[in-house]
């Protein structure tokens, strides 16, 4: 019952988010700010995680294909596909749900409990749209770049770890990452990223927007934002994979 009610409120909030902005320029400037806060500031964590995960994926693939009947370039190929198909979209989205989601929920939640949202409403500003739309637009546009960065850096991490550990030569790794490359996989990965970005921004925005009470409730909302975003990301990962790859 409560679940249905929340879902209803979530879609009602979405309706308010997508109404016409009062002043386009103010929203534009706010979106530029969010590019920096939610996008540029996430590059660091994405790069670090991608390098290490790429490295681990390459090494694990190597140790699982030690049988001489497998050609060595399979390591490059395997690393590439795993990173593109699953890691750089889904794993990165889960990590961003933690970083970006909690920051969105706590920022908006704090504005709610300190009456800043009421202050916006009193001025005649559509607070739902003003607070959530710029964040949504910024993540929808920027997260695909984060995914591309993650793919590139992840494959580099795999190459580095593989050659440094001596499990594969640089030539076969590079041959492997070019072998039987399916460009559609990139499209698939980017489509997932966009859907996940939508989930992170709107679910976290919703959790922050409906906070009532005090700072304790803001903390709870930000935990809920991360948990629900992650569950929805995993759910939609299954759905999208079935839709896009079958």
């Amino acid at each position: 019952m409560k679940f249905l009610e929340s879902t209803g409120r979530y879609f009602m909030l979405l309706g308010r988010v997508f109404s016409r902005p009062e002043k386009f320029y103010v929203y534009y400037r706010q979106t530029m700010k969010e590019f920096e806060l939610l996008g540029i500031n996430s590059i660091g964590i994405v790069v670090v995680i991608s390098v290490f995960m790429g490295a681990v994926i390459a090494l694990q693939t190597a140790y699982n294909t030690e049988n001489p009947i497998y050609p060595a370039y399979l390591i490059g190929l395997g690393t590439r596909d795993m990173i593109i198909l699953e890691f750089s979209s889904t794993m990165v989205a889960l990590i961003l749900a933690g970083k970006v989601g909690s920051s969105i929920a706590s920022e908006i939640g704090t504005m709610r409990v300190t009456e800043q949202i009421d202050a916006l409403e009193i001025m005649g500003v559509n607070s739902a749209s003003y607070l959530i739309l710029p964040k949504l637009v910024a993540t929808l546009i920027f997260n695909p770049f984060l995914t591309l960065i993650s793919i590139i850096v992840g494959i580099f991490g795999g190459w580095f770890a593989g050659t440094a550990a001596g499990v594969i030569t640089s030539e076969s790794f590079i041959y492997g990452i070019q072998y039987a490359f399916i460009p559609y996989y990139i499209t698939y990965s980017l489509i997932k990223t966009v859907v996940f970005a939508f989930i992170i921004a709107t679910v976290s925005g919703f959790q922050g927007y409906i906070v009532s009470g005090g700072s304790l409730d803001v903390g709870r909302a930000s935990t809920k934002a991360v948990v629900y975003s992650c569950i929805l990301i995993l759910l939609f990962n299954v759905i999208l994979t079935q839709l896009l790859l079958s």
Binding site: T110, M111, E115, D118, I122, M123, G124, V125
Partner: protein, 257 residues
């Protein structure tokens, strides 16, 4: 003018506002007084439309506000300025950006004009050299004054203040009260101030509404508040010893009352 008639508000079965009817006049400071928890904030939030009334009507001059859809409320809202109990400044914006926010959102003024308006409002509330500071770097009293500056930047017709001087020292509190009264006179605004501070009542209470447990018990001016024989009101007014002394003095001078 704001007219409220037969207003009721119920939260999960508890009646917080019970059949309140009152008219708030322009150009004077209308005070709503009452004990903590009596429903002042709920009344104010219902009047401005942040809460939906369960019964009753709200009129802004000749606009039937409580009947409007939320989209139609917007133009009326742009004529409102509100000072919240906790100031509610946007903490990611500087003082200047806070005050400029309504100008950016609702006017087509150029940067120079907007700056001038911001500086004028800041000067009006006596804040200097704080344009680039963030709200967290200001004292409570300064935050309240910046919030007042933001509330008046669009020349509102209606000003709402929820406990403008709670948490301030008596002298700063007095300054803020005077400021609100001056601005009300100057721009002929309809001003509603929530307070439980008897000093404010005596200073600026041109019209006073007393509510107790969500019921309007008394209405009058600060001139006749000390002489009322309403018991609940007297309980509230003479809760402090200074007021008790004043009443004793008055009764000595005029033993018949």
């Amino acid at each position: 003018m704001i007219k409220v008639s037969n207003l009721s508000k119920i939260f999960n079965g508890t009646t917080v506002l019970d059949d309140i009817s009152v008219t708030f006049e322009p150009g004077i400071t209308n005070l709503v007084i009452g004990k903590s928890g009596s429903g002042k904030t709920v009344l104010l939030k219902t009047v401005v439309g942040l809460l939906e009334p369960d019964m009753g009507d709200i009129w802004y001059d000749d606009i039937h506000f409580s009947e409007l859809s939320s989209a139609d409320k917007k133009p009326v809202r742009q004529k409102m300025g509100m000072l919240f109990q906790g100031s509610a400044l946007f903490d990611s914006l500087t003082v200047e950006e806070n005050i400029m926010f309504p100008l950016n959102m609702f006017t087509r003024k150029g940067m120079k004009e907007k700056r001038e308006r911001v500086n004028f409002c800041l000067q009006r509330v006596n804040i200097k050299n704080a344009n680039k500071m963030y709200p967290s770097e200001l004292s409570g009293g300064m935050q309240k004054r910046v919030a007042i500056a933001r509330a008046i930047v669009l020349n509102p017709g209606y000003l709402f203040c929820d406990e403008p001087n709670s948490g301030l020292d008596p002298k700063t509190a007095l300054l803020i009260d005077e400021l609100i009264k001056e601005l009300t006179d100057e721009y002929n605004m309809t001003t509603i101030v929530n307070t439980h501070d008897m000093n404010s009542v005596m200073e600026i209470g041109e019209k006073v509404i007393f509510i107790s447990r969500g019921i309007k018990c008394w209405e009058g001016s600060n001139k006749d508040i000390l002489e009322s024989d309403n018991e609940t009101l007297n309980d509230f007014v003479f809760a402090n010893s200074l007021a008790k002394k004043i009443r004793a003095e008055m009764q000595k001078k005029n033993p018949t009352s």
